[in-house]
Symmetry: C2
């Protein structure tokens, strides 16, 4: 596991920066809390965004293959108009009657399997996962939570405590159990489902024998922070069934895979053929407006609601709903996920071609437009693999293309462009990646 939990970041003194940037960083450090990190060795600064592109103060364009929040592209005029129009009328909260809230809620749950027919709104993905854990613990009467070895589920105290990705200094809950994923463990695909289920059954047994019991299995179906381990489709199903059998709930963290990121499906869990009890939403839901949600089955929602009121001042306010409604309309009307799937195939083919030419490209994994590309030839030690990944990311940044790293060793390129990515952008990305590999590895 990486000792540096965010290798792709700015470290004072490491890079020569222009005076404009170094002065701004000095001012920033004097006023922002020390828990902030800047991305890239030479941090970026953008004053304008449009579609797939971001522009710095000198007018230089950067191709965005990293930001999954603006799923419809930066500064989408239709979403912004919906938001501004609603802000000029009213921003009502959920304790007042509001047909727009109900209409959007109905449209949203309409995109889920029938069993998932209730929704509660939040402002962030962290709030969604935090609330889902509260609901699961209330409905199950148990405390235990099972996550993947390098999972990340949020920044609140309760979600950070089930996020091993945050590193040794952020203490895990005594009620969390971690399960290995078959991919990084080197288990062949044919045994992947059995391996995953066996791990989960062991965790359930352990939680049970200690009197903790299992409240939830909490998984992101892309396993993005673990390094993007998406195959084989369905490998999580047996483990999920074991958790339900033991009285726990299955929570699908769709903050990253949701809203069509995987191309073929609106929701990432569908790719695994499961129906979770609770589903958590965030990032792309409002194309940048802070809105998230927990969608769930009626029974746990009612068990929670019978004793607990959940009142989130901003969540579900009419302005956020207007933004989210516009996003859903555009996603469906313009068949954005379907188009993203087609583009993802072009990107996959291009990366495979590149992998044949460059032995530093060790493996490629993706579900739709979420790619993990392992860096470093077979046999390269962990530190060397990580160094190549971080070097490539920063060489591409200097070349005007934005990506970052992920995975337990942070040696996997994390590639997840806005869903409106087109063939021409894929080609620009591939050319830049090839240049970066030559620059880094010769």
């Amino acid at each position: 596991m990486s000792t540096d939990l965010m290798p792709n970041r700015y470290r004072p003194g490491e890079s020569e920066l222009p005076r404009r940037e170094s002065e701004l960083i000095a001012r920033r450090d004097k006023v922002l809390g020390a828990s902030y990190r800047l991305q890239y060795r030479r941090p970026v600064h953008f004053i304008r965004g449009e579609g797939m592109w971001l522009y710095d103060p000198d007018g230089r364009a950067y191709l965005d293959f990293y930001n999954n929040v603006p799923c419809l592209g930066h500064c989408h005029p239709e979403v912004n108009a919906a938001m501004a129009d609603q802000a000029g009328r009213i921003s009502a909260n959920t304790r007042y009657l509001e047909p727009k809230l109900v209409d959007y809620a109905a449209r949203l749950v309409g995109t889920f399997p029938n069993e998932l027919d209730r929704v509660v709104f939040t402002c962030t993905g962290s709030e969604s996962n935090d609330l889902a854990l509260r609901i699961a613990r209330c409905a199950s009467g148990k405390e235990g939570v099972i996550v993947s070895t390098y999972a990340y589920h949020g920044t609140s105290a309760a979600t950070a405590a089930v996020s091993p990705n945050l590193g040794d200094a952020v203490k895990l809950s005594p009620f969390v159990r971690m399960v290995s994923l078959p991919g990084p463990a080197g288990v062949p695909e044919a045994q992947a489902a059995d391996f995953f289920e066996m791990q989960i059954r062991s965790a359930i047994m352990d939680l049970k024998r200690r009197g903790i019991g299992v409240a939830a299995l909490l998984i992101d179906s892309i396993f993005s922070s673990d390094g993007v381990w998406v195959d084989p489709p369905g490998f999580v199903a047996g483990g999920a069934a074991a958790v339900r059998e033991a009285g726990g709930l299955v929570i699908a963290d769709e903050v990253q895979p949701g809203f069509g990121r995987t191309g073929a499906y609106m929701w990432g869990f569908e790719r695994h053929g499961i129906v979770p009890d609770l589903v958590t939403l965030g990032k792309p839901m409002g194309n940048g407006f802070p809105i998230g949600a927990v969608v769930g089955r009626r029974a746990p929602m009612e068990q929670f609601g019978a004793t607990s009121r959940y009142s989130n001042t901003f969540a579900g306010n009419t302005v956020g709903i207007a933004a989210a409604e516009a996003v859903l309309t555009i996603l469906q009307r313009d068949q954005i996920p379907q188009k993203a799937l087609a583009v993802s195939e072009r990107l996959r083919a291009g990366l495979e071609k590149l992998a044949k030419q460059r032995h530093e490209v060790r493996a490629i994994r993706n579900a739709g437009l979420f790619f993990g590309v392992d860096m470093g030839a077979e046999g390269t030690p962990a530190a060397g693999r990580r160094a190549i990944a971080v070097d490539v990311v920063n060489a591409m940044r200097d070349d005007g293309v934005l990506i970052s790293t992920t995975g337990a060793n942070e040696d996997t390129l994390k590639v997840r462009p806005p869903l409106v990515c087109q063939a021409e952008h894929v080609d620009l990305f591939l050319a830049s990646m090839e240049r970066a590999l030559i620059r880094v590895a010769g």
Copy 2:
């Protein structure tokens, strides 16, 4: 303590509703989670807001004396324009360099005492309190948290666990201790500070003897959910000092008192003459846009930041910063808190006059434009007092004026208009309250 934790709410079948509303509620119940509550016996529905006024679908105007989120009034055109303009340029996150983020952060901490010079942004008040607890536990190395008997600090798992206001079904943390406030305990003002400090010293001792230790005293200086107990100014100072002496941090929850609500001060803790270690912000910060923050001393921020990265996808994005920047500019430029203080004196005088005429007005407390008005004549049993309060709130709602209830027995009227409230609105409010008292109590 009230058995019904939210007495001022809609209960199916209790009130006759027009078909439009009853059909919307039926649709709503089929799709929203059961943890939602609708305010008022006959829920309200607004399609337009402007300044102090909200308008229902029939064009009827309601005077808003309840919503403290739109501190500058509903749908403020200047704030909305700032938000829309920024949304059309870029919505950058905090991992990129952004002068606007740094400029606003500097302006914001500039409104605090010198010792408080660092800020981390969040999306909600709950996230702010949750993060403040994480920082306090990291910096102190301890777990214990001291709150008031009927405190409310948020909806996340960690904040709900220190919010006795949420009721018996929402389990408190084993690490929380509750202290009584002098006011509701009937302690005379001259002994209030000693009483509060003694309670806190007992809690510290208890936490210490159990090996838990004290991480934080977490208080809202208005004690709004306890029933608005604001006097005498300074009564919390000795208790706060005792916590710091024991190695704990003082967290001022300014989600309600902050941004000039108390009139004479920008921050509620100033009224008590203390300088906290951490201050949490939320509700009015963006006049409705989901943005909050933790402002704090450098030392705990650095202790936390050295081991923990805090990455909140939406928090501090440029659009939220633009809204918050506009709010701060208008508050300062138009001297909103100072004007609110003058108006609060008119409201106070009017309520005192009413109290002389109506024995159901038992007591009046306020700090600036946050009022608690106890209902029910001396000697009225708790249930009767609560019934009068809820009846008055609903009679005023039917009369076109919005307020609600608060306090351990929910028999205190909670009155907190947008800060742009004028003398004419105060007079309309007082006339409506008098009519409601006559209607309810004869």
